[in-house]
Symmetry: C3
Amino acid sequence: MKQAVHTIEIQTRGKGLYEFTSRIDEWVQQQGMQAGLLTVFCRHTSASLLIQENADPTVQSDIRSYFDRIAPDDGPYVHNYEGPDDMPAHLKTALTQVQLSIPFVNGALTLGTWQGVYLFEHRLRPHRREIVLHLIGE
Amino acid sequence: MKQAVHTIEIQTRGKGLYEFTSRIDEWVQQQGMQAGLLTVFCRHTSASLLIQENADPTVQSDIRSYFDRIAPDDGPYVHNYEGPDDMPAHLKTALTQVQLSIPFVNGALTLGTWQGVYLFEHRLRPHRREIVLHLIGE
Amino acid sequence: MKQAVHTIEIQTRGKGLYEFTSRIDEWVQQQGMQAGLLTVFCRHTSASLLIQENADPTVQSDIRSYFDRIAPDDGPYVHNYEGPDDMPAHLKTALTQVQLSIPFVNGALTLGTWQGVYLFEHRLRPHRREIVLHLIGE
């Protein structure tokens, strides 16, 4: 049994979903393991992780619109000095997650056919987001 | 330290919560380990996982009703060609999770007394759902 | 590769976020590992876990207010014999999570600068909550 850790960066350009499945997959392949558990961890409180449908892009825009409706920028927030999109960003992060673990078998992640891994950016301005990848297996 | 991976299938019959704690527990017991970490992974984007109260069934029906209220079938979705229950299914999946990890000690999962593990089916029609179980420990 | 398991208790005093990052960190340090994966598991269905901003306390009060708005105590719930705050507590638990896994490297958790680990208590009365910590690494 062995483990590996790696940090990747994702440059965002405003609110939305940024798929990075292939970057995870590539790194996992490079570790040369056959089976194990991959953990993806987002080091932020205003961006989060989602596994979602990777086929029709309207799913992603509907997800973004939905979270803007349930946690709007003009909500009754006390915390507002970092901009109107900051507190909703924390709420959207709380409603989704900052960590995902995905088993892999026979050298491949066990993601379903339609599952892609996304960074969900909740801030309006561009950000450089850090994602930690941890792999344990053999 | 060793690991084991297994896929189970759950046949659903429309929206609702389907408990499968005993199936997980049975498989974990068969691996003959004493302590470790179990990861449960749902390979879908319109069904998800929940750990919830396993005592009073009204908790489960209230959960189902609640998610139907906050992500209704008649919402303003662009993505609708897979049926009115498809986009809400993606949203409910985003609001819950597709992965759970549960420590186990002394040969037993550390679930609390009232915690059951459920597949949360969000589609109206029956589906066969695949759940990957990954266990690492000794 | 080795593992360690430990249970900590958190005494709550009504609804709100209770940070326990330092307790996790202290325990991880005591295990003397250099790298691995920490899993935090909450053994309850009416309290949950969140990683959130640890700088401005108004973020935490806004989070609490927000969840009270989207899952109010006076909602149309069938399950109500455990008190008006019980069913909303289950819903808030479903909307957040009961498990978090955090990689650690060079003897330190890879939490971001602003990330704290919180128990999110959803019940009005004081409770003693059990959190299981599982660490695997070397």
